[in-house]
C-alpha cells in the first residue's frame, strides 16, 4: 500500500475506537510528559548552576601574580624554567596582558581592610574595588538599589550581612552616606648620605596617612561577586575599582615589598591582576601565554568539568525515573492493539481476501502505533513543558515569600523536544511489534469464519 493510503486507513481505524485510542495516547503523553519534565528540571538546574558559576567569574578568570610573589596560590606552584628575571606586575605588564587574544579585561584586585563609620559608629570591614565589567556580568542581578552610576563615583554597594550590621532595616540604608576611613600610602624617598646616622644605606619606605572618604550607599547585594580565589576574604563593602585605586590605600603587598627591600616608588605595582577570558574554554591557553610572559598564573579549570560529569549522571537518573511512566504507557499500546486485532479479525480477513499482503496488515498496525506515539509525544512534550513551568512558578512563589530572587528552574531545549517526540514514536513502534506481527500472521480463512 502507498504511505498515504496506509496513513489514511490507520487514522480511520484510530478514529473508530476514539475513546480507547485517546486514552492510550493520553497514557503515552503522560509518560513523555514525566520524562520531559524530569529532564527539563535537570537541564534547568545545570544551566542555573553554570550561570551562577560563570557569573562568579570563577571559571573564566585567571589570577596573575608576579613570580617573586611570596603569596602564591593555595597549591604548589608549577615549576617554570625561566632564566628571565622576575617581572613586576605594573601598568606595562597590565597592558601586555590586555593585548593577549581572548582577553575581555584585566583588572587589579584592590582589597583592603579598613574602618567604616556610619552614624558615628565604627565598623571594621574589607573593601573591594569592582571592575566595570561586573555591571553586565549579571552578578548584581536582583540587588536592591542601583549599580554604580559611573566608574569613578564615590558610591558604595553593601553586602547584605554588613548592611544588617549597620541597620536593622538594611533597605533603609540605600541613599544614606557613610565614611570610609583608610590609610593612604605616601612614599618617602630613599635616604641620602646627609641623612641621620640611623638611616645609613637603608632603602626608602612609605608613611601611612589616615584619610577619609564620604561614600553614598546606592545598593545592597546578597553575595559578593567574584568572591573566588585570590581574595583576602570576602569584601563586604564594594566600590568602583577606579575610585578605589585613586585612594592609594596601603595594601598588604606594600609592607611585603618594604620587608623584601624593594624600593617603593610612585610607580604602581599590583599584588595581583585578574585576567578575564572570553569563555572558560580559552583559560588553559591563556594561562600558558601568561606564564610565558614571566608571571605566575592560576585558574580553577577542573571544577567545571567535574560539574558537567555530575549533571550528566544526574540527568541520566532523572531520565530513568521519567521513563518508567513511558514504559507503563507502552503496555497500554500493546493492550489496545491486541484488543483491536480481536475486534478487527474479520476486517483483517477481508483485507487479505482482497489481496492485502501480510506486510500490508503489519504496516497498518505499525502506523497506528506510530501515530499514537507521535500524538502522545506532541501532547507529552507540551504537558512536560507546562509541568516544568508550573514547578518553576511554584518554586518562585516560595522563593518570593522567603524574599529570595526568582530562578529559572526548568528549561526545555530543542534537543529535548525532538528527543521526546522521537523517543515516544520509537517506544510506540516497539510496542506495536508484537500486535502487528500477530495481525499479519492471522489466517484469513479463520478470520472470515469468525463471527
Amino acid at each position: 500500500m502507498k504511505p498515504r493510503d496506509l496513513t489514511d486507513l490507520a487514522l480511520r481505524n484510530l478514529r473508530e475506537a476514539v475513546l480507547r485510542n485517546a486514552l492510550t495516547t493520553l497514557g503515552v503523553a503522560v509518560g513523555v510528559a514525566s520524562l520531559v519534565a524530569m529532564l527539563s528540571l535537570g537541564v534547568g538546574l545545570q544551566q542555573l548552576a553554570s550561570k551562577r558559576l560563570s557569573q562568579s567569574g570563577l571559571f573564566d578568570t585567571i589570577f596573575v601574580t608576579a613570580r617573586n610573589s611570596f603569596r602564591g596560590p593555595g597549591r604548589p606552584q608549577r615549576q617554570t624554567v625561566s632564566d628571565k628575571p622576575p617581572r613586576p606586575l605594573d601598568d606595562a605588564a597590565r597592558k601586555e596582558l590586555e593585548k593577549l587574544a581572548n582577553v575581555i579585561e584585566v583588572y587589579p584586585q584592590i582589597r583592603f581592610f579598613t574602618e567604616v563609620r556610619y552614624n558615628t559608629k565604627p565598623y571594621a570591614t574589607v573593601v573591594a574595588g569592582m571592575p566595570e565589567s561586573s555591571r553586565n556580568s549579571g552578578a548584581f542581578d536582583g540587588m536592591q538599589g542601583q549599580y554604580f552610576s559611573s566608574p569613578n563615583a564615590n558610591e558604595a554597594i553593601l553586602q547584605i550581612e554588613f548592611a544588617k550590621e549597620l541597620s536593622d532595616k538594611p533597605s533603609s540604608l540605600v541613599g544614606q552616606d557613610l565614611v570610609l576611613r583608610y590609610a593612604e600610602r605616601q612614599v618617602i624617598p630613599a635616604a641620602g648620605p646627609d641623612s641621620g646616622a640611623n638611616s645609613g644605606d637603608m632603602p626608602g619606605g612609605f608613611s601611612v596617612v589616615p584619610k577619609e572618604l564620604r561614600l553614598k550607599i546606592i545598593g545592597i547585594v546578597e553575595t559578593e561577586p567574584a568572591a573566588g580565589y585570590g581574595g583576602y576574604g570576602n569584601a563586604r563593602l564594594l566600590m568602583p575599582l577606579q575610585t578605589a585605586s585613586t585612594l592609594r590605600a596601603a595594601q598588604v603587598n606594600d609592607l611585603r615589598d618594604i620587608v623584601r627591600g624593594d624600593t617603593p616608588s610612585d610607580k604602581i605595582t599590583y599584588p595581583s591582576l585578574s585576567v578575564r577570558a572570553k569563555s572558560a574554554t580559552h583559560v588553559e591557553a591563556l594561562e600558558t601565554s601568561i606564564r610565558n610572559l614571566g608571571f605566575n598564573a592560576f585558574s580553577l579549570l577542573d571544577a567545571s568539568k567535574s560539574l558537567r560529569t555530575f549533571f550528566s549522571v544526574f540527568d541520566l537518573l532523572l531520565g530513568i525515573f521519567g521513563s518508567l511512566a513511558l514504559a507503563v504507557a507502552t503496555l497500554g499500546i500493546v493492550n489496545t492493539l491486541v484488543m483491536a486485532i480481536l475486534e478487527r479479525r474479520r476486517e483483517i480477513g477481508v483485507l487479505k481476501a482482497l489481496g492485502a499482503a501480510d506486510s500490508d496488515v503489519q504496516q497498518l498496525f505499525f502506523v497506528e502505533a506510530g501515530v499514537m506515539g507521535l500524538l502522545g509525544g506532541i501532547f507529552g512534550v507540551a504537558f512536560g513543558w507546562l509541568l516544568g513551568r508550573a514547578i518553576t512558578f511554584g518554586t518562585n512563589l516560595y522563593l518570593k515569600r522567603q524574599s529570595l530572587n526568582a530562578i529559572e528552574l526548568s528549561s526545555v531545549p530543542w534537543w529535548l523536544v525532538v528527543g521526546g517526540l522521537a523517543f515516544a514514536v520509537l517506544v510506540s513502534l516497539v510496542a506495536g511489534l508484537y500486535p502487528a506481527s500477530r495481525a499479519a500472521r492471522l489466517n484469513p480463512i479463520d478470520a472470515l469464519r469468525y463471527e
Binding site: M1, D5, E16, E347, A353, L354, G355, A357, D358, D360
Partner: protein
C-alpha cells in the same frame, strides 16, 4: 498444464486438517478443469469440502498435495507475497455475508482493492464508477453498508470484486443471505458479467435449482471428493 482456454486447473488436489489425533480430508484428490469464461457451480452439502476447494483456488489456503494452476500460475510455487498479488489482480471474491467493512461508505469499500493494488489516486474515481455501473448501483454511495438491503450490499460486494478487473470471480454462497427473488437477481447479474466481460465464475452453493438455472456446469462434492461433474442442458440455462 494450462492453455488459454483453461482458467483453473486442479490436479489431484488434497487438503487435510489435523484435529487432535485424527485427520480430516476436507478436499481429497480432486481434479477439475474450469474453462475461461465458464460459470461453474460447486454443489454439495455442508462439510462436503466445496468452500475449502474455493479457498484453495482463491489462494487463501495452500493444498496439502496436488497442484493448482490458474491462468498459467502454479499457486503452490508462489510466495505468500505473490499469492497476495494473485488474489489482488487475478481473483475477485464475494461472500455469503457480503463482508463489506461497516465503517466505510460504499464508495470507500469499493475503493479498498484499488488501495491495495496501489492504483493511482487520480484513476480511482473512474474505476469505482465503472464498477458501480456494472452492478447498476449509482445512488446512496456515501451511505454505510448497514443502511442498505441485503441485495444492495451484495451488489456493492460484487462491484468491489470487479474493481481490479479480475479474470476469475469466486462466489461463496452469494445468495445464502438473500430471499429467493433477490438471489435470482444477483445470479442474473453474475451471469451478465460472465457474458459481458468474459469472466470465469466459480460459485459455491447448495441451491441446486439456482445452480442449474444459471451455471454452465455443475460439480457435486461429497466428503471432500468430486462425486460428479455435468454440463447443464442449454435449455435449462435459458
Amino acid at each position: 498444464m494450462t492453455d488459454t482456454a483453461t482458467a483453473v486447473q486442479l490436479d489431484r488436489v488434497s487438503r487435510h486438517y489435523h484435529m487432535g489425533e485424527s485427520g480430516v480430508r476436507a478436499v481429497d484428490e480432486v481434479s477439475l478443469s474450469v474453462a475461461t469464461g465458464e460459470f461453474l457451480a460447486l454443489l454439495g452439502s455442508s462439510g462436503s469440502g466445496k468452500s475449502t476447494l474455493l479457498n484453495l483456488i482463491a489462494g487463501l489456503d495452500r493444498p496439502t498435495s496436488g497442484a493448482i494452476h490458474a491462468h498459467g500460475q502454479n499457486l503452490a510455487s508462489l510466495s505468500s507475497l505473490d499469492l497476495a498479488r494473485y488474489r489482488r489482480n487475478t481473483i475477485g471474491m464475494i461472500f455469503q455475508s457480503f463482508n463489506l467493512l461497516p465503517r466505510m461508505t460504499l464508495e470507500e469499500n469499493i475503493e479498498l482493492p484499488l488501495r491495495l493494488a496501489e492504483v493511482d489516486h487520480a484513476e480511482r474515481p473512474s474505476r469505482v464508477r465503472e464498477a458501480l455501473e456494472r452492478v447498476r448501483l449509482t445512488h446512496r454511495l456515501g451511505h454505510r453498508p448497514t443502511e442498505l438491503s441485503g441485495g444492495e450490499q451484495q451488489r456493492v460486494a460484487i462491484a468491489r470484486a470487479l474493481v481490479n478487473r479480475p479474470k476469475i470471480l469466486l462466489a461463496d454462497e452469494p445468495t445464502g443471505n438473500l430471499d429467493s427473488a433477490t438471489g435470482e437477481a444477483i445470479l442474473s447479474l453474475l451471469r451478465e458479467l460472465q457474458g459481458g466481460l468474459g469472466m470465469t465464475i466459480v460459485m459455491v452453493t447448495h441451491e441446486r435449482r439456482l445452480a442449474e438455472h444459471f451455471a454452465d456446469r455443475l460439480a457435486v462434492m461429497g466428503d471432500g471428493k468430486l462425486i460428479s461433474i455435468s454440463a447443464v442442458p442449454k435449455g435449462v440455462v435459458e
